[in-house]
Amino acid sequence: MPNNSKKQKNPQHQNNGFLIVASVNNAYYRSAVNLADSILDFHPEAKITLFTHPELFEEKHRHLFDVVDLSAPIHKRAKLFALPKTKYDITAYIDADCEVQSEEISEIFDQLGNNDIMLTKIRRYAAADVRISDTEELIWHCGVFLYNNKKKTLQMMQDWWTEYDYQITADPWPWPEHSRQMRPWDQYTFYRLYTSKKYKSVKIDVFPGEDARWNFVSIYNKSETTNHPVIYHYTLHPKELNAGRNVKKS
């Protein structure tokens, strides 16, 4: 449970919190619970919001969360639905298949500085598909990121959801200058948004220092960081997903 006395000592952190989304399969829910547990292991005062479905949520886990919202759609990119609904001043979104491994997690919100959104960079050697066109490629890994609650930033988050929905269904492919292979990737939607005129004023930057420490994907080269990662990004084993209970759309 959050410790109110400690929170009062750090007023600048009062309204900052973590956002976790678990959808589609209960393997992601189990993983989300582990992630929340790991955040609290290293940062007991942390506030965490969980977006999931009633079919997945177990009441015994409520104590881990500051807010439990059961309105998440059954969708592999349900995170995009949840992002604009944050209640925090600064939100740290973390993919459910991550685990916190350092006390430095309590410093995550300080990293944002004067930026609106802060992410880590994709490593080409560890990415499935980064090529958008002959001259453009995906840069940002969207598994862990910070964002503030400015109107423009939240509007961008809202558009990320609506634009993604358009991207995966639009026929014919609306961006012939870009590879169709980009269709399933929410990073591509993000790319379209941050390169658009509408969001030119949104300040985006990479986590300072060794950005990989904040989103260390399990197949990254060890040389990416000199210190232990703060957030380790695993991938759920197919066995876990197969064994997990899928939530069916009604």
Binding site: S218, I219, H228, Y234, H237
Partner: protein, 166 residues
């Protein structure tokens, strides 16, 4: 369409020892401005007759130049094969590491679902489990944590038990 000219390129020996045939590309330029490219093997006839293509190639390139091109081509092929082997090894290594990490995560999830581990207030040992880089490490620290929890439970039970009456 009529043929205006024929030229040859990428000429290498099929066998650098015997030097009696070459691999090459033949570029056929047509009167409509287009060029057709054919991959061919041109041989030196062994019955004493004349092969015009062979004669043209030998006149244009000469054996020394074909020797050099053949050596370069063999070296390039070897380098390509070596690079492919390195890439394949790198991919296999990464895939193997990926699978290892998937298994490690699955194991950790199970460890943290053990009630005594989940409810433990021993954050230092829990942190060691979380930072573990292999399944045996997770197992070892989980066992240590469980033993500590059992000891704590025993101690607590002892302090709660009323002293035995005489």
């Amino acid at each position: 369409m009529a043929i205006i000219s024929r030229t040859f390129r990428n000429v290498t020996w099929t066998n650098i020892e015997t030097k009696n045939a070459v691999n090459c590309e033949i570029l056929v330029n047509l009167d409509n401005g287009s060029t057709q490219i054919f991959t061919a093997v041109v041989s030196k006839p062994d019955d004493g007759s004349i092969n015009e293509d062979w004669e043209a190639i030998m006149e244009k390139f000469g054996t020394e130049s074909i020797d050099e091109a053949t050596t370069e081509s063999v070296q390039a092929k070897q380098a390509k094969r070596e690079q492919e082997r390195i890439d394949r090894e790198e991919t296999d290594k990464r895939q193997s590491e990926f699978e290892k990490q998937e298994a490690l995560f699955a194991f950790k999830l199970e460890a943290f679902e053990i009630e005594a581990v989940k409810n433990s207030k021993d954050r230092a040992t829990k942190a060691l489990i979380r930072k573990s880089k292999s399944i045996p490490e997770v197992q070892a620290y989980t066992t240590i944590l469980l033993m500590k929890e059992l000891n704590n439970a025993e101690q607590q039970q002892k302090t709660e038990e009323p002293p035995a009456s005489e």
